[in-house]
């Protein structure tokens, strides 16, 4: 176990990564996180010297999409190395051990690093039937979270499920899925939403935590502002077409071919905060809008229930379906009143007493 606790630097050298490469990586990461260039240098020192923090990864009601995205390493990029540098003491999907051994590893890791380990959670917490919908080794995620969370230094809720409840929480939410922040109230939680979130966002958050061992600046929904500070719409390269009112009407019309704005095809860019437009996906190859499909707002709470993915933001649901009934009711009320009014006026006319001179005096 001692060897695993070694300095990150030693592990880098062991993998044949020169110090220069590592310096370059830190400079790039700092730039990506909108930190000043000097921070890159500080990050390099801190991360190199950092004792390999213990990390416990608890997979709750998840589809493993986030784990897939995190461990995706297209080229032996530095992201992958970062994950090598942390002591991933418990990751159910990746770890060799299973059964009782896995359980022992978990509890030993908690004991050894009580109060110091980083708890990463992906997947929502099922609360239906006291958590029976989602269990590990017979114990519900809910209980496990309540047991492990108090000893964590900080929690990273990876993916929209852990951050906001995601798809399991979508209507009708049979399992009673909730976000991690709905259960744990007393620990700093970094939400890294997205379905799945962008790999570099996760490494960015981990690098920040390893370097400054604090939670990065978060927005109202607990998301790091470095990555979730701007809406997709504000950073989107098709924005000029939106401003000129050039919209694709269908997915294969002339506008779509010219790469015009997909606002009318349901793009939720204007109301979604994420870094897809700048950092892009698959090692900045492309991202949904660039490939011709609107953003579905996967890093926003309850994105699944926010109206159809292909209904434009400005399009109201369907107010006119009530219109005809409303018009009918209005007409009925109007006709009723006109009949009543005419009756009243008729009555007043028939009860008319011709005014005589005497009638002028009170």
């Amino acid at each position: 176990m001692e060897e695993k606790q070694g300095l990150l630097a030693h592990s880098l050298i062991r993998h044949g990564v020169s110090r220069r490469t590592f310096l370059k990586y830190c400079a790039t990461l700092a730039s990506m996180m909108a930190l000043p260039p000097s921070a890159g240098r500080a990050m390099a020192e801190a991360m190199a010297a950092a004792r390999r923090p213990s990390v416990i990864w608890l997979p709750f009601q998840e589809c493993t999409g986030c784990t897939e995205s995190i461990t995706r390493s297209h080229s032996p990029s530095i992201e992958g190395l970062i994950f090598d540098s942390i002591s991933l003491d418990y990751q159910e999907t990746l770890m060799a051990a299973a059964g009782h051994q896995a359980e022992e590893a978990l509890h030993k890791a908690i004991e050894d690093n009580k109060g110091k380990f980083l708890l990463i959670i992906d997947g929502s917490v099922a609360t239906g039937l006291d958590g029976a919908y989602s269990c590990i080794a017979g114990r519900s995620n809910l209980d496990l979270l309540k047991e492990v969370a108090p000893h964590a230094a900080a929690i990273v809720a990876v993916g929209s499920c852990a951050a906001f409840g995601g798809i399991p929480k979508a209507n009708p939410n049979p399992t009673g899925a909730v976000a991690v922040s709905d259960i744990v109230k007393d620990k700093p939680i970094i939400n890294v939403p997205g379905c799945p979130p962008i790999p570099v966002v996760m490494t960015g958050v981990l690098a920040h935590y390893l370097t400054f061992s604090t939670v990065p600046e978060l927005d109202k929904l607990g998301r790091p502002k470095a990555f979730y500070g701007e809406t997709i719409h504000d950073r989107c390269y098709r924005r000029p077409f939106y401003d000129q009112g050039k919209f694709a009407k269908t997915f294969d019309d002339e506008g779509a071919r010219k790469g015009w704005c997909l606002f009318e095809l349901g793009c939720k860019g204007p109301v979604t905060y994420n870094a897809c437009a700048s950092t892009k996906w698959n090692d900045s190859t492309s991202w949904p809008v660039e490939s011709g499909h609107g953003c579905i707002g996967c890093s926003e709470p309850d994105f699944w229930d926010a109206g159809g993915f292909y209904k434009a933001l400005s399009m109201p649901a369907d107010p006119l379906k009530l219109a005809s009934t409303a018009a009918m009711v209005g007409a009925a009320a109007g006709v009723a009143m006109s009949i009543a009014n005419r009756a009243k006026k008729g009555a007043a006319k028939s009860a008319h007493e011709t005014t005589t001179l005497a009638d002028l005096e009170k």
Partner: protein, 221 residues
């Protein structure tokens, strides 16, 4: 209820309810008003050029000639024209609004550049504030004004303000401000048929009656 759910409600059921109440209210009140009818004028009519209800409906949009009325209450006239025309431009010539109307009733027409509409929105709001100040300071208007006058002012001002702030990304994130904008429009729609804002619908009838009654006497009002 977070921003997205708020926007979804406001865009969905909220708008359904508002549009329904609006339609219901307009039809009900129009019937309630104009079903009262009126007696036919038995006096022998006098023909005169330009003396008819139809003429008055349009002529009354301009201040009456030669009476110096604009000089007597300039804010009502000039401020009134500016913010009514401003409202018309902002509501009916702004691209997203045209798209919304198009999606509702399928009719579409070219809009104006959004920078111009932003300017119109600011001008409209400024004119409305000036008109409000005039209502407060001018003895006649203050004497006439009741809660409804100030309430309807607010209900008409808010949509322009929130709409402009949404476009300018001011104060609140776009999601929330857009939702507030739509909510304020919904309040306007619900309130309109039951307050003096209904003049938007009844003034045409009123002008026609006025013009017709006087036109019968050969007087072009």
């Amino acid at each position: 209820m977070n921003e997205m759910q708020f926007l979804t409600w406001v865009r969905g059921p909220g708008l359904d309810i508002a549009v329904s109440i609006f339609l219901l209210g307009v039809i009900w009140r129009l019937l309630e008003i104009y079903s009262l009818g009126r007696k036919k004028d038995l006096a022998a009519p006098r023909q005169a050029a330009g003396a008819s209800g139809f003429h008055t409906v349009f002529r009354r949009s301009m201040p009456p000639a030669g009476m110096g009325m604009v000089k007597k209450s300039p804010v009502s006239y000039i401020g009134g024209y500016i913010f009514h025309i401003g409202l018309f431009f902002v509501v009916f010539l702004f691209a997203p609004h045209i798209k919304l109307i198009n999606s509702l009733i399928g009719v579409s027409w070219p809009g104006l550049p959004s920078q111009f509409i932003d300017l119109m929105a600011v001008v409209t709001m400024a004119a409305m504030v000036v008109v409000l100040a005039d209502r407060i300071n001018r003895p006649v208007k203050r004497y006439l004004s009741n809660f409804e006058d100030y309430f309807t002012w607010g209900v008409t001002f808010l949509p322009v303000l929130t709409g402009w702030m949404a476009v300018q990304h001011l104060l609140l994130p776009y999601t929330t401000m857009l939702a507030l904008h739509i909510l304020s429009v919904e309040i306007l729609l619900v309130v309109l048929p039951f307050t003096k804002l209904f003049h938007a619908f009844t003034l045409w009838g009123s002008r026609w009656y006025n013009g017709q009654v006087n036109g019968h006497k050969g007087v072009a009002v």
